[in-house]
């Protein structure tokens, strides 16, 4: 293992069925599994960020969490040691976007100063009009927002590459 390797733990947060596991699998294995199975507990994936951010090898340990935890996720032991969070919503279900915003605010309170980003997933499907309205509020929060499709892989690696770059900046 390279001495210069940076390893960071990132939490995948969001409601049940928004695509956290699909994103984690797309990221780690480069494919999409269409057999939905709810995550019970936490599944741990690892992902080597490519290209190396700023030329330094960077690995994410992706903690794909159980969406049923909701906002109580931050009381779970494993959440305490996370250095970043990717908070996911499904653009076909407006309530998941509202939950995503709530989780974002809570993450900021519980883990101030750490990186997090919003992921609007399933852009391969038709967006609910109510999500388009919420999008304006999302932009106003100034938190990074990525629009992804775990199905096609669109923007998935890019979101994590940006996260790695931003984490390195934060720790400089």
């Amino acid at each position: 293992m390279s001495a210069n390797l940076i390893t960071k733990k990132v939490l995948m947060l969001g409601e049940i069925g928004v695509g956290k596991t699909s994103i984690s699998r797309r990221l780690s294995f480069g494919h999409f599994g269409d057999n939905y199975k709810a995550t019970i507990g936490v599944d741990i994936y690892s992902y080597d960020v490519k290209p190396d951010p700023e030329g330094i090898p960077f690995k994410f340990l992706v903690w794909d969490t159980d969406g049923s935890h909701g906002e109580s996720i931050f009381r779970q032991y494993f959440a305490r040691q996370a250095q970043a969070a990717m908070i996911v919503a499904d653009i076909t279900r407006p309530s998941t976007v509202e939950s995503m915003l709530k989780l974002g605010r809570l993450y900021e309170d519980v883990m101030p100063g750490r990186y997090y980003a919003y992921i609007l997933n399933k852009v391969d499907l038709e967006e609910d009009p109510a999500v388009s309205e919420i999008r304006q509020r999302l932009i106003a929060t100034k938190i990074p927002v990525f629009q992804t499709s775990a199905l096609s892989g669109e923007n998935v690696a890019e979101a994590f590459h940006d996260a790695a770059v931003e984490i390195m900046k934060l720790e400089r």
Binding site: T7, I40, D43, F78, P94, P129, K142
Partner: protein, 392 residues
Amino acid sequence: MTKPAAHDSHTLVEASSFLIDRGFCGLVWLDEDLTVRERAGSLVDFVSLDQPVGLAFLPLFGCEDDIRALRANPRHRFELANVKIVDAKQESPRLSLYVHWLDTSRRFLIIVVRTTHQSGIEAELENQSRRRALAEAKSIEQAKALEHANTELTRVNRELDEFANIISHDLKSPMRGLRYLAEDIEQALDRADTATAHALLADLKQQARRMSRMLTDLLTYARIGPNGEESSSDTDTQALVETIIASLPRPRGFTIEITGQWPLMRTVSAALDVVLRNLIDNAIKHHDRTDGRLTLSARPIKSGVEVSIGDDGPGIDSKYHEAIFQPFRKLELKPASDERSSGIGLSFVRKTVETNGATLTLESAPRERRGTTFRLQWPGELLVQDGTANKP
């Protein structure tokens, strides 16, 4: 497997019983520096030797301080439940980890057990139950979307009725006027009274221009709706209102005062422009004095800005408070120049307000005092001076 350092027998017995009872999966020994030195059991593929624990055994990444803390409390243990390690080739069973400090051997011992609280059938049942919960959540969202579509359909139907009403009543009358004028011109020409015919022709042209304007405005009005593509932008509300005032004609003695706190906000500025422009223009045009006074004031509110537009004009009787927002419904007081007005300005305002989730109220009681005040609450994200969001 390398033989572990000697343990105290009590700990070994205790640990063995624990393992047997709970479904043993593996053991991992760490030295005082938290480097993995030994491993045993079916988990060897998920644990690397001679690596720091966080990298050698991923579930414990970031837990180093908690593990070290056990040394101070040897009777305590550190637990991490319900984790699964997934890589491209394989998945571990779902695991629970128990970390102990073995004071006698000065090593940490990690006991790894399968999560046994769920059998395969229970896990499948849990999974099915979550699928059902997800399906129900989606169904609720679809029902909401349907309700939203129904409300929108009702609104569109109401507008269609309104539109049909306008076409049948408000445009019929000027059309009839045109016909009468044409007949009068015909009669004048029959009498060889060309002077009258010319005068009537001028009236006819003016009437035709007015109708043309009404139709144009009506089409513009019909196009205002929630499907507009206008997007939000950072808006200096004071600069916006100053630009509007500069572009509107008004009598020389007419004064406009801007007071209060006009915030910088992220909002749909084109729509806000339509509303403010029409309200201000309306106040100027329908004032009965050339030395009228208009006061525009603003204050930031939690959800955007509140603007009040107050004039010292003749006021609007309460019986007209609703009618003035209907297309082509002008009151007795005609504006100075009818050419500029089709009577649809306040209808634009109401429709734009509704479309953008704003509210507008009207205060006027001409029997008690002069003047009218429109109070607008317009939504937007307040920004501080550097353009960032102003959090409450």
